[in-house]
């Protein structure tokens, strides 16, 4: 049972991560290849707070704010560069986070932070992760339906045209980065308390590519597609153990296949087969 609870918890966390990246890249069109850094920022900030004696709820909230704060800073970079240059900048943010954390003694350097208090049992973490995933799912569906979603669409499709009809492109990009990275911070906070240990390697480039693969496989921009992509890519390595050893290779291959044969991912396949667009 413990095993299934743990898989369910990770599926929940991955749904949060994939949906949060989808908010930035799918809705607002801003490429991000360093999303794991914000997951890590949330985890480290929450871990530090919890170790310092703060209750878990407060620690997770601080993790979200720290991740969101750094997300805003990254958002400012998105005001200066676009597309492939933004991809490189966000990848750099990921490496910068890892490089900085690995050298900081107060963050435990390579050994990370251990003995993080864990106030919940496995059921509690599974419920929290799935509850968080449902909350981010509902938020995503709401954003899509709201005028923010339409303005994000305008920014994603043509920034200059959006500006010329009065859309504050910079404000929307920063908002997308804030919401998306704060949500990644939520996943980080839950992860830190569940595992009671955070180490830099859990938030490396492979993790960023994994999150990106979930979004692309599910169908970038489609909330339900991305949920399906995240669940599928969480279960796949569990069902086929060998995938775990070749994760980067398999995910890289999957990304290539999806881009070549179904650029709209699983959501695109559903659309082609049923004629209905997923939300």
């Amino acid at each position: 049972m413990d095993y299934y609870l743990s898989v369910a918890t990770f599926a929940g966390l991955n749904v949060i991560l994939a949906l949060s990246l989808n908010l930035i890249s799918g809705f607002c069109g801003q490429v991000s290849l360093g999303h794991a850094a914000f997951y890590g920022l949330g985890a480290y900030a929450a871990a530090l707070c919890s170790v310092a004696g703060l209750p878990m709820g407060v620690s997770v909230a601080v993790g979200m704010l720290v991740a969101g704060g750094f997300g805003i800073v990254t958002g400012f970079a998105a005001l200066r560069v676009r597309e492939d240059f933004l991809a490189i900048v966000t990848m750099g943010v990921g490496f910068l986070f890892l490089g900085a954390v690995r050298k900081q003694a107060w963050l435990g350097a390579e050994m990370g932070i251990a003995k993080i208090p864990s106030p919940l049992d496995k059921w509690g973490y599974a419920a929290l992760a799935i509850g968080g995933a449902v909350a981010v799912l509902l938020l995503s569906l709401h954003v899509r339906r709201s005028w923010m979603g339409r303005a994000f669409g305008a920014v994603a499709q043509d920034e200059d045209a959006a500006r010329s009809i009065g859309v504050d492109v910079s404000g929307y990009k920063i908002a997308a980065f804030f919401i998306g990275t704060a949500a990644a911070g939520l996943a980080g906070g839950i992860y830190a308390h569940m595992t009671q240990l955070v180490v830099p390697d859990a938030f490396n480039f492979v993790q960023s590519v994994t999150i990106l693969a979930m979004v692309v496989v599910g169908g970038i921009g489609s909330t339900l597609g991305v949920v399906a992509g995240a669940v599928l890519l969480t279960l796949m390595p569990e069902m086929f153990r060998f995938i775990n050893d070749y994760k980067l290779l398999v995910y890289g291959g999957l990304l290539l296949l999806v881009m070549r044969f179904s650029p709209e991912g699983l959501a695109g396949l559903v659309h082609r087969v049923t004629g209905r667009r997923l939300a």
């Binding site: 709401h142 339906r145 005028w147 923010m148 339409r150 010329s164 009065g166």
Partner: protein
């Protein structure tokens, strides 16, 4: 209403716009013409804020807007349509116009997040599409409709912002004779309803027909301005404009 004072910008060693002074009065329909490379689009970009001038300033309704970003100018009622039509390609024509029609709501991201009410913007956008004669394609994605529709959609999108000053960059380019004449009539009608319009145009026949005043730009400077027929009759204008055209032909 709009005033450009000493506007200038250079690209490399070329002074694309060189110390241009111009005034656009409330309610007028002014045409800005000039041979290829005269600096018309650059001047328009300086006026609307797409480019920041190296010299000079822009005033809109008495307020210095030289450093005001494009989206803020659009919110103030100073709206530009692009020379190459720039629709949101994945949206329908209706959705394209709706985003502009909801500009009061989309002005601030957090307010936009709190608002899901589509009906008022939808009604306004539909009325504008009808007004421009393209309501039949309202639900078609922008990437699937012909250029004439997109040109009209772009004007509908600009009108959704309730502009007081509309700057149209070559709105007739790419349209056939009949479409261009019909579109030009629409511009006259919009102007008659109170929108001040500056028209940058290559279609000399139409612009001379509809503009109340012409400004001729040559080598980045204003060469002549005044009543269209008088301006077009001037020898220096013909030499600069038509002479260059003849040389190209």
């Amino acid at each position: 209403m709009l005033e450009g004072v000493g506007l200038g910008i250079a690209f490399g060693g070329v002074r694309a716009v060189n110390g241009v002074n111009l005034r656009v009065e409330r309610g007028e329909l002014a045409g800005l013409i000039g041979p290829n490379g005269a600096g018309k689009t650059t001047l328009l970009r300086l006026l609307t804020g797409v480019l920041a001038p190296e010299a000079g300033s822009v005033r809109f309704e008495g307020k210095d807007v030289t450093r005001v970003p494009i989206h803020r100018r659009a919110q103030l009622g100073f709206v530009l349509t692009h020379q190459i039509v720039r629709p949101f390609r994945e949206m329908t024509l209706l959705e394209n116009v709706m985003v502009a029609a909801a500009s009061e709501v989309t002005r601030r991201p957090w307010r936009a997040l709190a608002s899901v009410e589509v009906w008022p913007a939808r009604q306004r956008a539909l009325a504008l599409l009808e007004r421009l004669g393209i309501a039949d394609a309202a639900d078609k994605p922008a990437h699937s409709v012909p250029l004439g529709y997109l040109k009209r959609m772009q004007v509908a999108r600009a009108l959704a912002l309730e502009p007081r000053l509309l700057m149209l960059d070559e709105p007739l380019a790419g349209l056939n004779y009949t479409e261009a004449a019909r579109f030009a009539d629409l511009i006259v009608q919009l102007n008659a309803e109170g929108t001040t319009i500056v028209l940058v145009e290559h279609n000399l026949g139409e612009v001379t027909r509809i503009a109340g005043r012409l400004l001729v730009l040559h080598n980045g400077a204003i060469l002549a301005e005044g009543e269209p027929r008088e301006v077009m009759a001037r020898k220096d204008v013909r030499d600069a404009y038509l002479g260059v055209q003849a040389a190209h032909a």
